[in-house]
């Protein structure tokens, strides 16, 4: 009984101490936030009148607070948040304050941490606060062992240098995840300076994910001039590369695209074949009618449907192929053709 009471008492005391400390901590944080809010607003609306040596005035209390590591980190967090939400002079002034207080050193220290999340945080802080002079330190991490550190470093380099920053694609031997590819494409969408010669080189990269990413850039930026360099990727041994090749060709096809597609058709996986049929439908050339008509006899119903859809996309000539198909009145062709026709009119 006494042991139980003692345990309960200890737990209660522990909870009380924890709550008191937590409350004290929260109060301190709020106090710091309040203090920093003033400093940040002074920075955001600071007018330096063209001076390169401008210094943002800070209160004594803020300067004193900077001695505390927690206060400095909170300031970095607020600066990063502000920099992400603001543009123009306001954003430049936040960078000015970051530099003025030497906070880059604190962010840089994080890159030496053994913990990946601290490293990633440091990279993000340096990128958002436009610390271009530290690019070599960040660049080294674009091929880091930890995936999230690598992703953060790659995004940071692109954020700082745009398309030029993609030079890490020349050296990385690790895969770029689907998500990272989306992130990089999104960052690049807002930046000028796409260089098709560089993308052409990455189309023959030994790293499949680099090749896929290059193919995505071809599609995203409609790089018609790379059509002939994209075609050989149809013969790549890995289906994901071939699939992305077909998808990219959909954005840059010419009248010569059909032949290589038809040549490789029989060696492709079913999803790749379906995408080829879809692309042939988009191309819409009557010359492909005979090939598509042959595919109506495929054992796979999905491919029959794909071929029927492509023929319908071709217009009257394609519809004629459907009508002339010897089994058009029999199951399952009658239903497949009907579905393809209904989809077209919907």
């Amino acid at each position: 009984m006494a042991v139980m009471v003692g345990t309960l008492l200890s737990i209660t005391i522990f909870i009380l101490i924890y709550l008191v400390l937590k409350r004290k901590n929260e109060r301190k944080l709020n106090e710091w936030r309040e203090q920093l809010s003033g400093a940040l607003q002074t920075a955001i609306f600071f007018e330096n009148e063209g001076s390169t040596q401008a210094t943002i005035p800070l209160t004594f209390k803020t300067i004193r607070g900077l001695k505390h590591p927690g206060f400095r980190q909170l300031l970095i967090d607020e600066l990063v948040l502000g920099k992400k939400s603001l543009t123009g002079t306001a954003a430049s002034n936040l960078v000015l304050l970051f530099n003025q207080l030497g906070l880059d050193k604190l962010s840089l220290q994080k890159l030496n941490s053994r913990r990946w999340h601290i490293k990633a945080r440091g990279i993000q802080e340096l990128a958002v606060m436009e610390q271009r002079q530290l690019v070599t330190r960040i660049y080294r991490l674009t091929n880091a062992h930890h995936e999230l550190v690598r992703m953060e470093a790659q995004s940071a380099i692109v954020q700082l240098y745009g398309f030029e920053g993609l030079r890490f694609l020349d050296i990385i031997d690790t895969p770029i995840s689907e998500w990272q590819q989306i992130t990089l494409l999104r960052l690049l969408a807002r930046m000028p300076g796409i260089q098709s010669e560089k993308i052409a080189n990455w189309l023959s990269s030994g790293n499949d994910s680099v090749r896929i990413f290059a193919l995505k850039m071809v599609a995203e930026h409609h790089l018609h001039q790379l059509h002939d360099q994209v075609i050989p990727c149809l013969h790549h041994p890995h289906p994901p590369v071939r699939m992305q090749t077909i998808r990219s060709l959909k954005e840059i096809y010419t009248e010569t695209t059909s032949n290589p597609l038809i040549q490789v058709y029989s060696t492709q996986t079913i999803p790749c074949r379906l995408t080829i049929l879809d692309l042939l439908g988009n191309i819409g050339s009557p010359d492909n009618g005979a090939f598509l008509s042959q595919q109506l006899a495929d054992r796979e119903d999905t491919l029959k449907l794909g071929a029927a859809r492509a023929l319908i996309q071709m217009g009257d000539v394609g519809r004629q192929y459907l009508d002339d198909f010897p089994l058009s009145g029999e199951y399952p062709w009658n239903e497949i053709f009907q579905q393809a026709k209904t989809e077209q009119t919907a």
């Binding site: 955001i44 939400s85 603001l86 543009t87 002079t89």
Partner: protein, 119 residues
């Protein structure tokens, strides 16, 4: 002129407050959507600036609520993030008058507010 600002990012709401107060507007601040809706009737703003993604009620709900109120038509500016084009279109359908994409410049916001209030 009275402006109601609904934004959940403290640094942004404070920046908007400082900038617009400098321009001489009377401000009412709300850090979430529900707070903003609750304040509309009492404060009777001449303009509303609202973020889209907020806790408790979104910017779209604020627009819907405002447009359902009888009386004068209050101009509404929405603050959206990049990649929220669909939501911006939805906001315009509901009756928003202008939008600013984050990140934005406080000076740009000031100009937009003035233009909308004088038009």
């Amino acid at each position: 002129m009275k402006i109601l600002v609904a934004e959940d990012e403290p640094i942004l709401i404070r920046t908007i407050e400082v900038r617009l107060k400098k321009d001489g507007y009377e401000l009412c601040l709300a850090s979430d959507g529900q707070q903003a809706i609750d304040k509309i009737a009492d404060f009777a703003p001449d303009m509303i600036i609202t973020d889209i993604m907020m806790p408790y009620a979104s910017g779209l709900e604020i627009i819907s609520y405002t447009r359902q109120q009888p009386g004068k038509r209050t101009p509404i500016i929405i603050l959206s993030s990049m990649g929220q084009e669909d939501v911006v279109l939805e906001a315009f359908k509901l009756g928003a008058d202008d939008y600013i994409t984050k990140p934005f410049s406080p000076n740009e916001l000031s100009v937009r507010v003035r233009r909308l209030l004088t038009s």
